[in-house]
């Protein structure tokens, strides 16, 4: 069997759509094209039934009830709706210039959480950005210490998108519940891969995206708790009152059907996938760090998602490295992959030096990743690091016993 190249190891960016998902979606483009809002003919009913079925599948994946699922265009919209909608609903000083309420988040959240929080700060809310330790994890104690009298919202991701570290979500959920503070989690990287129970873990709001779990792009959901407490939100998009008024606009029926099918498949395959991918990840980490000196796996040793890893290889630059392993599609925290010259703020928040942050690779596996592909990747990365180190003046200095981090580099 010949392996198809390039190998795709960027599932944390997006996953391929499962063919079973596509198959489930197809009839809703050309046959069952009704608007679920059309209550008076069979076209509308058929679409509504399909949406209801998808809603039940997504709810089941989260341990929620169907009425608690709001379909959106993706996790970015879900995060915006959860954060801005909750802040405006629960504010202490409505429409004031200051003192509208306190929000707790973390410095290494996704931009789709950070930017809505920053906007709220400009509009009179306060915010605390928690800083993780070197393991990348936000603990319940950190949240507890940041809580204030006027804290109205805590928003923390379940698992980090760059390093896969897992925050203490159940403990933070319990803490927020005991303090009557609304708790939102961006679970984009978590849901569909790890067991989720919003009841057990006291989560009030949860964002997810279909395209990170083998569904289509452009659709996602926000879980909004309906009981104990009944969470209310100020809608951001108004109009026809769809989705219980939380999100107006004709439903994206094909996308929602795809998300529902994707949720169903994840539910069925999650346990075996988790074990399989964890074995592959451990192999990759073990073999790469054993073969390459001055390399490190970033983030907590165990509390990480099973399917992804973030490794820094000293003295080689991430984008150069990706170019050298051109038959493995992955990503890097190097500055060169972004428009700015700053390396990953996530890696920097762990106290990883800028030089090692520039030298990182994120490898994320998925449903069709094989051991053969992983073995190929290990071999390619080893080869590439060796090649680039032969070209690296920093590696020479390291071999000569010069501590590169102690050199006074001219500002550039």
């Amino acid at each position: 069997m010949t392996m198809k190249l390039p190998v795709y190891l960027d599932h944390a960016a997006t996953t391929p759509c499962d063919p079973r998902v596509v198959e489930a979606m197809l009839p809703y483009f050309t046959e069952e094209y009704g608007n679920p809002g059309s209550r008076n003919h069979r076209f509308g009913w058929a679409s509504e039934d399909a949406v209801d079925k998808a809603r039940a599948s997504v709810a089941a994946l989260l341990g929620a009830s169907e009425k608690e699922i709001i379909f959106t265009s993706g996790a970015t919209e879900s995060n915006n709706l959860a954060i801005k909608g909750a802040a405006m609903m629960y504010e202490k000083n409505p429409a004031g210039q200051t003192g509208r309420g306190h929000i707790i988040t973390a410095v290494h959240e996704h931009k789709a959480v950070l930017d809505p929080v920053k906007r709220l700060m400009r509009e009179g809310f306060d915010a605390t950005f928690l800083e993780p330790g070197p393991d990348g994890i936000i603990t319940a104690d950190m949240v507890k210490n940041a809580m204030r009298e006027d804290t109205i919202l805590v928003t923390l991701m379940w698992a980090n998108n760059e390093i896969g570290t897992i925050n203490e979500i159940p403990e933070i959920g319990a803490l927020c519940k005991s303090r009557d503070v609304i708790f939102h989690t961006d679970a984009t990287q978590w849901v569909g891969k790890m067991p989720t129970d919003v009841e057990r873990d006291s989560i009030d709001l949860l964002s997810l995206s279909a395209h990170k779990m083998y569904g289509p792009k452009g659709v996602g959901a926000l879980y909004v708790r309906r009981r104990k407490p009944r969470v209310r939100l100020v809608p951001l998009q108004e109009g026809g009152g769809q989705e219980r008024g939380f999100r107006s606009g004709t439903l994206n029926v094909t996308g929602i059907v795809g998300l529902g099918k994707a949720a169903e498949l994840c539910m069925a395959e999650m346990d075996s996938e988790r074990d399989r991918l964890l074995k592959l990840r451990l192999k990759m980490e073990r073999e790469l760090t054993a073969a390459i000196d001055v390399s490190q796996v970033n983030g907590h040793a165990e509390k990480r998602l099973p399917h992804m890893t973030n490794i820094s290889f000293g003295f080689v630059e991430g984008e150069g490295l990706m170019m050298a392993v051109k038959n493995v599609a992955c990503s890097s925290g190097s500055a060169c992959t972004s428009a700015s010259l700053e390396p990953s703020y996530v890696l920097k928040s762990l106290g990883i030096g800028d030089d090692l942050a520039h030298s990182s690779l994120r490898l994320s596996m998925g449903r069709w990743t094989t051991e053969e592909q992983v073995d190929y990747t290990i071999a390619e990365v080893k080869k590439a690091v060796t090649k680039l180190r032969e070209m690296s003046p920093l590696y020479d200095m390291h071999l000569e016993g010069i501590d590169v981090s102690k050199i006074q580099w001219a500002s550039h």
Binding site: E317, S334, C336, G353, D354, E390, M391, P393, S405, H412
Partner: protein, 142 residues
């Protein structure tokens, strides 16, 4: 963003990788000029060494080592190619915009070419200083 063919070529077959000796060894060699520019925190460090024939005043050979992205490696590889056979003045005249043009670098990679120009100037300047050659002020800032 796809890389241009020339960047890929220089990256995959870099010209003149290496050096004329360790940092400590080349420090006292009067025929060698060394330029090290950039910083690991910025994601690019270029080390350029030139070997000058004192009789002709021409750059006989040039070697580089670069920590950086594909465009940074290609820019330094190209710089070594261009330097060979040039006089110091001709080397000094190489502009980053020529590197940008030759490699079809996109705007986000222009800093790689700037770094290569800086490395050329630093290496030539080092040679001139070692040999007591006084020239016009080469100080530059960016």
């Amino acid at each position: 963003m796809a890389y241009s063919e020339k960047v890929v070529d220089h990256y995959e077959n870099p010209r003149n990788v290496g050096n004329f000796g360790k940092t400590s060894e080349v420090k006292d060699r009067k025929d060698i000029g060394v330029g090290v520019v950039g910083a690991p925190e910025c994601g690019d460090v270029m080390q350029l060494q030139i070997k000058v024939n004192p009789e002709t005043g021409k750059i006989e050979d040039a070697k580089f080592k670069t920590f950086g992205c594909g465009s940074a490696i290609a820019s330094s590889s190209l710089a070594t190619e261009w330097l060979k056979g040039k006089t110091l003045d001709e080397g000094m005249a190489i502009r980053n915009t020529e590197i940008v043009q030759e490699l079809s670098l996109p705007p986000v990679k222009i800093h790689c070419s700037v770094l290569a120009e800086d490395a050329i100037k630093a290496a030539i300047h080092d040679y001139q200083e070692k040999n007591g050659i006084h020239t016009e002020e080469h100080a530059h800032h960016h």
